[in-house]
């Protein structure tokens, strides 16, 4: 029954433009022998738009997925996309704080969620469930020659009214993982500064400005790579980087990798199984 405990909520982006994130995560989990099963029949969490237009619509969309997870006997639901994670966990928390709201929404939507599912993000799960020791033991190709900037972004760590799984202002869990892989991580000021998220589509000039500051600081620290745990961060930092480094005089291109892609490399998984060819910026030289 162990295998039925952890559910995987990919969300639209991991099924679409960031399928390399899902692919690398599943490979890494397979190697670590962590059973995980995709939530059957899942639907979009609404990010970045449903909550921007209607709070109840946002709650209902997430209620549907939480309710499916409960029905499918998942005790925990892992959402590697930071935006999906934020939507799911904040909905869950809102129901926890307001039972009447849950009852009324169950009623309106024809669902019957009891609030039993725990929502987790990839960093929280790797650090607190898998554990640094187990990750360290799996390393076959130490990344000792490399220097990384761990970029946490916004939505994995900033959940209002919830006990954080890491320090909100200066998280360190991802740094611990990268260090366990043998590499060095830098202290820097843009760990949790926003990349603009959806503004990358609707107000590109604002998002590019935010991304440029992140790239400049990482570049000043002479890192080989920036590691992310969010598809929106990845798209904003990676796919428009060539344009941004020209516009803002950033000295050189910086590879942008998902945490699970870096883990995969250190575990000796071949690049072709980690979706690395999807990254726009040049591949890391290991």
């Amino acid at each position: 029954m162990e295998s039925e405990k952890l559910g995987f909520y990919p969300g639209c982006t991991l099924e679409g433009s960031s399928s390399g994130y899902a692919e690398s995560m599943l490979k890494v989990f397979e190697l670590l022998k962590i059973p995980i099963k995709e939530l059957d029949d899942w639907s979009c969490c609404g990010a970045s738009s449903a909550h921007a237009l209607d709070h109840e619509l946002h709650l209902a969309l997430n209620l549907r997925n939480l309710s499916l997870a409960e029905k499918q006997d998942f005790k925990e639901l892992l959402a590697p996309c930071a935006a999906c994670y934020h939507r799911l966990i904040s909905t869950n928390n809102e129901f926890y704080l307001d039972n009447a709201l849950l009852a009324s929404l169950n009623d309106q939507t024809g669902l019957n969620y009891q609030g039993k599912v725990k929502v987790r993000n990839i960093l929280d799960f790797l650090i607190h469930q898998v554990g640094i020791e187990k990750i360290e033991k799996q390393v076959s190709h130490s990344l000792s020659s490399l220097k990384f900037a761990c970029y946490y972004g916004c939505l994995n760590t900033r959940i209002p009214r919830l006990l954080p799984f890491d320090k909100v202002e200066y998280p360190e869990g991802m740094d611990q993982i990268i260090k366990a892989l043998g590499a060095e991580t830098v202290e820097w000021s843009y760990k949790t500064e926003c990349c603009g998220a959806g503004l990358g589509v609707t107000a590109e000039e604002i998002s590019n400005k935010l991304v440029s500051k992140i790239l400049l600081d990482a570049s000043a620290k002479e890192v080989d790579c920036i590691v992310v745990a969010c598809p929106m961060c990845h798209v904003n930092l990676d796919t428009r980087q060539d344009k941004i480094i020209q516009q803002f005089d950033i000295p050189k291109e910086i590879p942008i990798y998902y945490i699970t892609q870096i883990m995969g490399l250190a575990f000796g998984i071949e690049e072709q199984f980690l979706g690395i060819k999807q990254n726009f910026m040049p591949a890391l030289q290991i």
Partner: protein, 171 residues
């Protein structure tokens, strides 16, 4: 509109004592016409009309920096969501139509099959903007890199009917 409870829809804005921590940490403050603490102040005194017409509510990146730092636990990011909704239901002219159109196109795409088809979303958004070539320079590379899925995701059975009851795009 004066709201007698001093709460703006979901959040009690009267707890605000104007420390301006929200504005100090906001990554997009320099592009805003009203700063976050000014938005909250206008709501706390019952004058939401300037806030509802502001650019601020449309360019808020939704990063939650203000919300987790607020010493009075006001979820300012969520207030921005509520303001957007109210500006739409009050039929106010949106100062950043490209943002509103994106959200509307996005929700419409969710309702179509339950999951977003990114290619169709971007195409439809461009048509709605009247800028068919917006961001197209990224498309060929996205495709070659395997990041652009041509075929739509599978449709979730019964989703369309279920979701139409919750949300009517004309709202």
């Amino acid at each position: 509109m004066v709201n007698s409870s001093f709460s703006y829809l979901h959040e009690n804005v009267s707890y605000c004592y104007q420390c301006s921590k929200c504005s100090a940490g906001c990554p997009v403050a320099e592009d805003m016409d009203l700063l976050p603490h000014q938005i909250i102040h206008s709501l706390a005194i019952g004058e939401d009309s300037e806030a509802l017409k502001s650019h601020t509510i449309w360019i808020c990146a939704g990063c939650y920096t203000c919300a987790v730092r607020c010493p009075n636990d006001i979820n300012i990011t969520s207030v921005m969501d509520d303001l957007r909704k109210k500006s739409i239901t009050s039929n106010l002219a949106c100062p950043k139509p490209e943002v509103l159109k994106f959200h509307q196109t996005f929700v419409k795409d969710i309702q179509r099959r339950g999951r977003v088809h990114e290619l169709r979303l971007m195409g439809e958004y461009n048509l709605k903007l009247g800028k068919p070539f917006n961001n197209v320079e990224l498309a060929p590379k996205m495709f070659l890199k395997g990041r652009l899925k041509i075929l739509p995701p599978k449709a979730i059975k019964g989703f369309k009917t279920w979701s139409k009851k919750l949300w009517n795009p004309k709202n």
